[in-house]
Subunit: 399 residues, 2 copies
Amino acid sequence: MPSISTKGKTMPESPIRKLVPYAEAAKKRGVKVYHLNIGQPDIKTPEVALDAIRNYNEKVVQYSHSAGNASYREKLTNYYKTKNIHITSDEIIVTAGASEAILFAIQSIMDPGDEIIIPEPFYANYNGFAINSGVTVHPIKSDIEGSFALPPIAEFEKAVNEKTKAIMVCNPNNPTGYLYSEEELSTLKDIALKHDLYLIADEVYREFVYDGNTHHSVMNLKGLEQHSILIDSVSKRYSACGFRIGCMISKNKEVMSTAMKFAQARLSPPSFGQIASEAALETPQEYFNEVLNEYLDRRNVVVEMINKIPGAFCPNPKGAFYVVARLPIDDSDRFCRWLLEDFNYEKQTVMLAPASGFYSTEGSGKDEVRISYVLNLTDLAASMKVLEEALKVYPGKTN
Amino acid sequence: MPSISTKGKTMPESPIRKLVPYAEAAKKRGVKVYHLNIGQPDIKTPEVALDAIRNYNEKVVQYSHSAGNASYREKLTNYYKTKNIHITSDEIIVTAGASEAILFAIQSIMDPGDEIIIPEPFYANYNGFAINSGVTVHPIKSDIEGSFALPPIAEFEKAVNEKTKAIMVCNPNNPTGYLYSEEELSTLKDIALKHDLYLIADEVYREFVYDGNTHHSVMNLKGLEQHSILIDSVSKRYSACGFRIGCMISKNKEVMSTAMKFAQARLSPPSFGQIASEAALETPQEYFNEVLNEYLDRRNVVVEMINKIPGAFCPNPKGAFYVVARLPIDDSDRFCRWLLEDFNYEKQTVMLAPASGFYSTEGSGKDEVRISYVLNLTDLAASMKVLEEALKVYPGKTN
């Protein structure tokens, strides 16, 4: 038998996907499963985007420009202007989701054996993209007591070595919902400049910021223009995960011309998704206001209800639509499986993401879960009730 | 300034893209440019596929399954059955074009430093995907005198070493249009089995086979089931390049479960493209008959007219919609640029792909060009006339 690649063997399996068969079995037993495990919002995709698809009238669905349709990139610059991000259309490469943008960024700036510093917990697929590129993730731990704020600068200094090429943050953060402050970004800028590192910011949750706070973009760090790479996506902004449209943005011309070579090799990003994304730029502000209010209400329900559970703790994050909560449990992987396999409350259960999958330090996150608040308020309240009941009887509970 | 990756520096720039500014300048001077340089067909995308897009009625455009929608994969197995390829839906991973399928295949089976044998000339982006994966392409030369038939088995034997993990062919071939015979595939099978290598076949031009010939798939090589990987795409089949939908197929479970890890990391293939591709499976046979007749007429015009040009030679390929022709020129890169920059015949010129970009052996293909017959017969005849006139006055002509 011919062999499998080393990177193929070491690519992690998604910790959530492992639970899918148990969720399916629960449903077969007639148990309603509330899905709080994924970042697939239930929010409607803007009509203006879907209309553009329904009105598609080209005769031949052609390749687009490898960097994305010029008209879309041009209009995108106006969107970013409203976010106080000032770029030109040739500083954008449209990609198949943020996933491809991250791959292009890493592959353009890092060689196999290089290191990237990422505060953990972090989006699990960063690990996959790093392994895919032969790059090592050097995690720095942020913790739940500090609401997952940026680790102190000393931790970064300890992590930097001659192989370090970049720091990556997700802001607002998946999985923690943490919103980095202007000061924290300024700290990251200082480290990046001092050690001549790239600062990659995944800002796909930019629109989801609560309590009157402001999102600060990596693109607004003065003096860091040649070191900054912005990763973006329409998936969450317009509840349009299936479009598979994201982008990579940088003012560093060498980075962009290198990334373009990867973009050209794969020919072009999806044409329909680009058309829908271009139309989505006309989404009325009202849509965002409604969505934001909805998510705010949901966050409040989740945070409040978790904090009422004996032994549980949940920070009150300012962004995205996730929380990482600490529960009185022995092992979140075991607990999440038990919820699906052995538990139901009035024929209902919940599917959560074990937080262990968001840490690269072995043994971390064992008493934490990520909850995506992507369900309506009624279902969300029911889910929290299920969780509360589950924690009364879970055999591995620790309090 | 932070650095660029080695692979980023060594990724080739597309030899065609380099010509784009000259084509644009020619158009600005009022010269009509016939584009014979790319594999973007002018053929209409089937209405049944576009109707599915126009009738889209979901409220939320969600992620699909990472392997692609189950309904699409299920129906795909029926399509393949009509091509005498017998597979199950879990032997398919739907990808963002054949490009992503090739990346998944290479990354699943090959480590950096490994080698892949590819008969040259070959599709230029294979090089990009190999460099992206740290893999070395070991070319074996097929030549125009032999109509680009498979090189003799002895050449393969010479090329195999302890680092060789796979052989890749494109059948029918881009750029040569060559259709591999059953005997040639049988030869490849013997080599693959003898040395325990994967055989990757890019069969995206399966539908385009002329003169009553039959396409033979890698999936029908008995005894090679664990070594065969099929790469496919809807781009050419339905003139749907912008869908960005392809797939990777194998009966080797370990290969597929490894590729699934890469597929999960990038979440899912494009949703709209999958819906259009699923609907495209209902395209009436009449559509394919018409398209095939059209391409056959085009091929005949191109081959006949080139062979009438003094000093030029073009084999008569049995598949795809490309020919590689030998022209009486010093340097195809120079010639293709000269056509755009310095020449016009009655305010018209042609954009061709220099064949040097399809060889990885330095210095090869200097007197060859690839011509894509993706224009209507009138334009194609006009283009060939332009080429004939150009070769009368090109300063670097060699006869």
